[in-house]
């Protein structure tokens, strides 16, 4: 049996919450009959002290390891989650849940609205990062876990990690925030707005009610993905990968994809629409844009972290990440220090841009392994 099959055996599940366990949203709305799709790897120990929650990024899902049911590809963090890796099913009970608002099984805009019998579409309430985290906390409780050993995530997952530390500091021992920020910058919001406008400009979007007529705004969603994908890479990575390489000999003197980079982006867009829902993209990007922990407390970010003094933090950034640059991570670390929290920070030298957190980065793997290993020792000591 190979490693992937072993992980596969854990399978995916959906937690259905009773009507009286509604998810109360930051906006004041609520979601009744909440469903949270999740996967687990490894086994919860008798002390219930080895659980790690992994929080996923914008367009990822609960398939952090094992095989993805739609794409057939290995889990998105199979370089960090697996036997002998920093998150090891032999030692840890690893949980990864699809965020609320997502489209991989958790309640989201493509779920059926019980009031109409149709997909929610834009009738779905606006959600925030804090709402995603509250849904995760409900799941963790339902799994019988009082306190997580660690919450780990990159990009939007890293934002959830910070939100966990602010909202539930007593429920986690360690926090790992990778390639993220404590608030969305103007540039972050601007890029997301381009993506949303592309989706909403597609005639097949139909005011969000495309499901009722059996169409999907594939062109708009693909353009949104293409624009976003550029922000995940660095100029150096794009140049190295493609340069000005042509697909065929000579220029076509037309608007077909002459350049390899065009073809690559079109492919990224085309494959994305097969696995992602356009309305989910609108809702989740909005949740990220609304994210601002610096505004959550009268004393700013440091004030927000003050209750999390007992949490062990490790913050990672990548030198070439211009989407969530190192300065954002440094602001987080500065606030953690000001709050008196126990913070470590590593800036990893990589020219692969924001995407580096998903790629083979030995420094990330080793430092994360060292951090979690020593944290586990510290937690097991009375």
């Amino acid at each position: 049996m190979n490693e992937l099959d072993t992980l596969e055996a854990a399978g995916g599940e959906v937690m259905r919450f009773a009507a009286d366990q509604a998810l109360e949203l930051e906006s004041g709305s609520r979601i009744e009959g909440l469903e949270v799709a999740y996967r687990t790897f490894g086994r919860l120990n008798d002390e219930r002290s080895n659980a790690i929650l992994v929080c996923h990024a914008l367009t990822l899902d609960q398939h952090v390891a094992g095989r993805h049911p739609l794409t057939g590809k290995p889990g998105w963090w199979s370089r960090l989650v697996g036997p002998g890796l920093p998150l090891d099913p032999a030692r840890h009970f690893i949980i990864c849940a699809n965020v609320v608002g997502g489209c991989m099984g958790s309640t989201g805009p493509s779920s059926i609205n019980p009031a109409t019998g149709e997909a929610f579409g834009l009738a779905f309430p606006m959600i925030t990062i804090a709402d995603m985290v509250r849904a995760q906390a409900m799941l963790v409780s339902a799994l019988g876990i009082e306190r997580l050993f660690a919450v780990v995530g990159g990009s939007m997952g890293g934002m959830q990690v910070l939100q966990w530390a602010v909202d539930y500091p007593e429920r986690l021992f360690a926090a790992v925030c990778i390639a993220a920020a404590a608030r969305h910058s103007a540039q972050n919001i601007a890029f997301h707005e381009v993506g949303r406008q592309a989706i909403m400009a597609d005639p097949d979007w139909r005011g969000g009610d495309y499901a009722a007529v059996g169409v999907r705004p594939e062109k708009g969603l693909a353009v949104a993905r293409m624009a976003a994908h550029i922000t995940y890479l660095s100029e150096a990575a794009l140049q190295r990968k493609f340069g000005r390489e042509l697909r065929h000999d000579g220029l076509s003197f037309g608007f077909d994809a002459d350049f390899q980079v065009e073809s690559y982006l079109r492919h990224q867009g085309a494959t994305f629409v097969d696995r992602f829902d356009a309305n989910s993209y609108l809702y989740i990007t909005r949740a990220m844009d609304y994210f601002d922990l610096t505004d959550a407390h009268p004393e700013g970010l440091a004030g927000a972290f003050r209750r999390a003094k007992a949490v062990r933090f490790c913050v990672f950034s990548f030198t070439s990440d211009w989407l969530y640059p190192t300065a954002e991570s440094r602001a987080i670390v500065r606030a953690l220090n000001a709050a008196g929290a126990r913070a470590s920070f590593v800036e990893i030298d990589s020219d692969r841009g924001h995407d580096a957190f998903l790629l083979d980065e030995p420094v990330l793997r080793d430092a994360l392994g060292g951090f979690l290993g020593s944290a586990a020792l510290a937690w097991s000591r009375p």
Binding site: R312, C314, R330, V333, R334, N337, A338, G340, R342, A343, S344, F345, V346, E347, I348, D349, V363, D366, A367, G369, G370, F371, G373, S374, A375, L377, A378
Partner: protein
């Protein structure tokens, strides 16, 4: 960033002797965390580190130490005033871009600073310059001039003058010589400025008059 080779590791033992038990300590330029681990083990200190190399940071993380990648010139402003009982800068001040600024920062974020540095007034250094007319290469200064990270070398006399200028009190001073235990000494003694290969100072802010 910590320079000076193996000749001056005696300062670790001396620092461990000087630091009060259960205090909060920041080690600036903590390398792989050897000193912080020693202090945690022997004095029960709550330690933090700053280290510039990713390898050093990874090693510290594996040891369970809280460490931030950064450097003394730029990243001390991360910490609020009075965050620590001690801030340690061991064999690093001579390698920073702005020693005067860094020294001030150490005593902003710490009640006390423990600073060690090679003494450019040591007789062997002076002898090398006088007899050979070349930049000295010694146990405490092992690199040739073009490869050394030590860009702001000074003598004990220079350093104590800077402390006076910054209105810092020298609470204790020890001379460090390779292979020998640290020796308490008078920081402003002229003879000491000849004898000490390296020196370690415990500094505090002078109380306002």
């Amino acid at each position: 960033m910590r320079a000076g080779g193996g000749a001056v590791r005696e300062d670790f033992q001396e620092i461990a002797r000087l630091v009060a038990p259960d205090s909060r300590v920041l080690d600036v330029g903590c390398g792989e965390g050897t000193l912080l681990e020693l202090l945690a083990r022997e004095k029960g200190v709550e330690g933090r580190g700053i280290e510039i190399s990713p390898e050093g940071v990874s090693a510290c993380l594996a040891r369970g130490l809280a460490v931030m990648q950064g450097d003394a010139d730029r990243d001390l402003d991360y910490f609020p005033a009075g965050s620590f009982d001690y801030v340690i800068l061991s064999q690093t001040l001579q390698a920073v871009l702005r020693p005067r600024h860094v020294l001030g920062e150490l005593l902003r974020i710490g009640d006390k600073a423990i600073v060690s540095l090679p003494n450019f007034g040591h007789w062997r250094v002076r002898l090398d310059l006088v007899t050979k007319g070349r930049m000295p290469v010694t146990g405490a200064l092992p690199d040739p001039w073009w490869a050394t990270p030590n860009i702001h070398l000074c003598t004990m006399g220079d350093f104590t003058a800077l402390c006076d200028d910054l209105d810092l009190a020298i609470e204790a001073c020890a001379a460090l010589t390779a292979g020998r235990p640290a020796r308490p000494t008078n920081p402003k003694g002229r003879l000491e400025n000849w004898r000490a290969e390296a020196a370690l100072f415990v500094l505090s802010r002078r109380p306002a008059p």
